[in-house]
């Protein structure tokens, strides 16, 4: 089956900042969509956290998953990195293939 190369971004970010990041993504050329996955907990340089028992959700994080055409990779990554870098979070970039090239 024919597939097409695209770029996948995985963005881990505080859930409080998701609406802002989403608004930014919506405004970027080349971003046609994204998907948000809940995160249960984690550990990093700033310690351990878990969602259990949280009343306010201030501590929680979300994973944002975004498929891009490689033409837009650099501009999108730059914008997202500028946003994520000033708060807790991280970004990974990887290669994926999709069937419907036109969707992204």
């Amino acid at each position: 089956m024919q597939t097409h190369s695209k770029v996948r971004l995985d963005i881990l970010i505080e859930q409080l900042a998701v609406p802002r990041l989403a608004a930014m993504l919506d405004s970027l050329r080349g971003v046609n969509g994204y998907t948000i996955l809940p995160v249960q907990g984690g550990s990093g340089l700033n310690g351990i956290w878990t969602r259990d028992g949280q009343v306010a959700g201030a501590e929680g994080m979300m994973m944002l998953w975004c498929i891009l055409d490689r033409h837009h990779k650099d501009t999108v990554l730059e914008a997202v990195f500028g946003f994520v870098n000033e708060r807790a979070g991280l970004i990974t970039v990887s290669d994926v293939k999709v069937v419907r090239a036109d969707k992204f």
């Binding site: 028992g53 949280q54 306010a56």
Partner: protein, 335 residues
């Protein structure tokens, strides 16, 4: 009030199931047993408590009316919330080694309020047959946000000279994000509905909103204890003696200042005691969220641990009976 009755009140508070469940959750967490609730439940119970307390407050206003004078406490509360962070900031810079941004973030928490501390105090008061004016709920809502603005202003002023990255470059908190947070809206909305429907509305939904309230509060404090204990354990290294001391004396300072501010007001003794509790309590819902958004360079481990791990337990176990006893002493005698 003499020492005996103060001790009696403290014992009464400590013997309340609400406080005991908090201690259970807290102690279990220190022994690394997790009694916290799943997050969707914890969040919903918090919503329930705000809905219930807002509604009850509104019904209270409908029953006893709210003249113009009864809005004075609201003004006092808002002013306190806006100004107390300045004092807190100064105190932190003097008595701890926190940097400017962290000090500003922490100070904002203490100007704002903890709704659960407030609820626990209401419960302790009602256990001995006291009720406060319904307007107190509006005061609680009104005190949530001004401290956030004050804290951000402090951080911005502090950041201006040195910081390369510059606080100003970062997106500020919009008014929507600050003021229209869902807890304030729910509290005030439920208050309006309770006010509008009055005692008849209360009769309708009392078996949901009033009867099980104390039991639900027990469950919630079990969870809060679990989370507070866990946080204290995990972040014990992130936080030094200076800030911890601040988390213990600042509630007393707030309560004392508020006692003076409410002195001349037309308010029941229970109402004045609750104003002191609000002043003494530190936010761990609205303010941490705002700080994470608008002040990402401040360290959450510090402000969350102080507010939830130090001041909250202190208030629940020691502070509340103390503030109530003080209010009894100052205001019962005076009248």
């Amino acid at each position: 009030m003499d020492l005996n009755s103060l001790l009696g009140l403290a014992a009464g508070t400590l013997g309340s199931p609400v406080v005991l469940f908090f201690i259970l959750g807290f102690a279990a967490a220190l022994a690394r047993v997790d009694l916290s609730l799943p997050q969707p439940i914890a969040k919903t119970v918090a919503l329930y408590l705000m809905l219930a307390i807002g509604f009850k407050g509104g019904v209270g206003i409908a029953e006893n009316g709210a003249g113009l004078a009864s809005f004075l406490p609201l003004a006092v509360g808002i002013l306190f919330s806006a100004l107390f962070p300045f004092l807190g900031y100064g105190a932190l810079r003097l008595t701890s080694s926190l940097g400017r941004t962290d000090a500003a973030a922490v100070a904002a928490h203490y100007g704002s309020i903890s709704i659960v501390t407030f609820l626990t105090a209401i419960q302790v008061l009602s256990d001995r047959g006291d009720t406060a004016e319904g307007i107190l709920v509006a005061v609680a809502a009104g005190m949530e946000v001004p401290a956030i603005v004050a804290g951000l202003w402090l951080a911005a002023a502090a950041g201006r000279p040195g910081d390369a990255a510059g606080v100003d470059a970062r997106p500020a908190l919009s008014i929507r994000e600050a003021a229209l947070n869902s807890s304030v809206v729910l509290l005030l909305g439920a208050l309006a509905i309770g006010w509008f429907t009055g005692p008849a509305g209360m009769a309708d939904i009392k078996p949901f909103i009033a009867d099980p309230f104390k039991g639900v509060l027990c469950l919630f404090l079990l969870d809060m204890g679990a989370v507070a204990g866990r946080g204290l354990l995990q972040n014990r290294k992130a936080i030094s003696a200076g800030p911890i001391l601040f988390g213990l004396y600042m509630p007393l300072v707030g309560a004392a200042l508020m006692a003076m501010a409410v002195w001349p007001l037309e308010l029941s003794v229970a109402g004045k005691a609750l104003m002191m509790v609000l002043a003494a309590s530190a936010s761990y819902i609205a303010v941490p969220a705002a700080m994470r958004l608008a002040l990402p360079q401040a360290n959450p481990a510090i402000y969350t641990t102080l507010s939830l791990g130090v001041t909250f337990p202190f208030n629940v176990v020691i502070g509340i009976p103390l503030y109530i006893a003080l209010a009894d002493m100052l205001f019962s005698v005076a009248r």
